[in-house]
């Protein structure tokens, strides 16, 4: 019988492995200090970014770069606006 598949989502990329290997990989990431969320029924683990890494980036005061789409799907990076003062506004329809 073929083994069930398992998906590891890391940094927005999904990799499919065998279930046993997936569980081992998730455990290993957790041991390494990564925040890991697992759903064994769904066969997927999500690997997050450590507080240490995020906190260090913010405390450096260097604004973390990002790349996000507009309504037309066109991607924009924060770094494209270097040389300008920026008001960054996060909002939600909720």
């Amino acid at each position: 019988m073929a083994e069930r598949k398992f998906t590891i989502v890391d940094g927005g990329r999904a990799v499919e492995v065998d279930e046993r290997e997936g569980v081992v990989l998730a455990k290993r990431a957790e041991t390494a200090g990564r925040p890991v969320a697992v759903d064994l029924d769904e066969g997927v683990a999500y690997l997050g970014v450590t507080a240490r890494e995020r906190a260090a980036a913010l405390a450096s005061l260097e604004a973390p770069d990002f790349r996000l789409p507009d309504l037309d799907g066109r991607l924009h990076s924060l770094s494209e606006h270097r040389g300008k003062k920026v008001l960054l506004v996060a909002y939600g329809s909720w």
Binding site: V9, G12, A14, P35, V36, A37, V38, D39, D41, E42, V44, A45, Y46, L47, G48, V49, T50, A51, R54, A55, A57, L58, A59, L61, E62, A63, P64, D65, F66, L68, P69, D70, L71, H76, L78, S79, H81, R82, G83, K84, K85, V86, L87, L88, V89, A90, Y91, G92, S93, W94
Partner: protein
């Protein structure tokens, strides 16, 4: 405001933290912005900047440095009676900074004012990430389990607790939101956390 200040080497970037571009579309259509108006369905920005509620604003200088950390500001006084925050106060400070009439917050003070993410916050974001991944694949029930777990881990994170309501079939302005907010405030917690200046 943007029209008035863009000549000073300034831009606004708005990011809608929403479950889909369609949720944000009416807002963007109404505002008809000429500055970048972006959509973040996977909470990329919330994760990078430790954003736990909306609206959250930051000021970044020409070198890409954070000169005003996460703060609460509104563009209008629509919610003033609820929030006690006046739109004009932030706008005046922003205008003075952009026009070079006032300096931003010194680096040491910015660091003192920053709220940095903890291990539990990042664990909550991983649970959110898993939930969002499942949600976009139609696994709504499984997604809900992880959204709820994320909210339990980080009860102060309304980007998770309220922001996922539309993905859990809950009205984010409805009775369940009001109940959550009521319990939170009754326990002595602030819903909005403007900078203590």
């Amino acid at each position: 405001m943007y029209g008035e200040l863009r000549g000073y080497g300034f831009t606004v970037i708005t990011v809608a933290i929403d479950k889909s571009a369609e949720d944000a579309r009416p807002w963007i259509a109404a505002a008809r912005p000429t500055h970048p108006s972006l959509i973040d369905t996977t909470h990329v920005l919330a994760d990078l900047y430790n954003i736990v509620n909306v609206p959250t604003i930051l000021w970044l200088d020409e070198r890409g440095r954070i000169v005003r950390p996460n703060d609460v500001a509104f563009g209008t006084d629509t919610f003033k009676s609820i929030t006690g925050l006046e739109a004009a106060k932030h706008l005046a400070a922003l205008r003075a900074w952009v026009r070079g009439e006032a300096t931003a917050i010194p680096a040491a003070r910015v660091r003192a004012l920053q709220a940095l993410p903890t291990d539990v916050d990042q664990q909550a974001r991983a649970e959110f990430g898993l939930g969002e991944w499942l949600f976009t694949r139609g696994r709504t029930e499984a997604a809900t389990r992880h959204f709820v777990r994320a909210g339990e881990l980080a009860p102060h994170d309304f980007t998770i607790r309220r922001g996922t309501m539309p993905m859990r079939g809950i009205d984010p302005m409805g009775p369940q939101f009001r109940e959550m907010l009521g319990a939170w405030v009754k326990a002595g917690n602030p819903y909005y956390r403007p900078l203590a200046e």
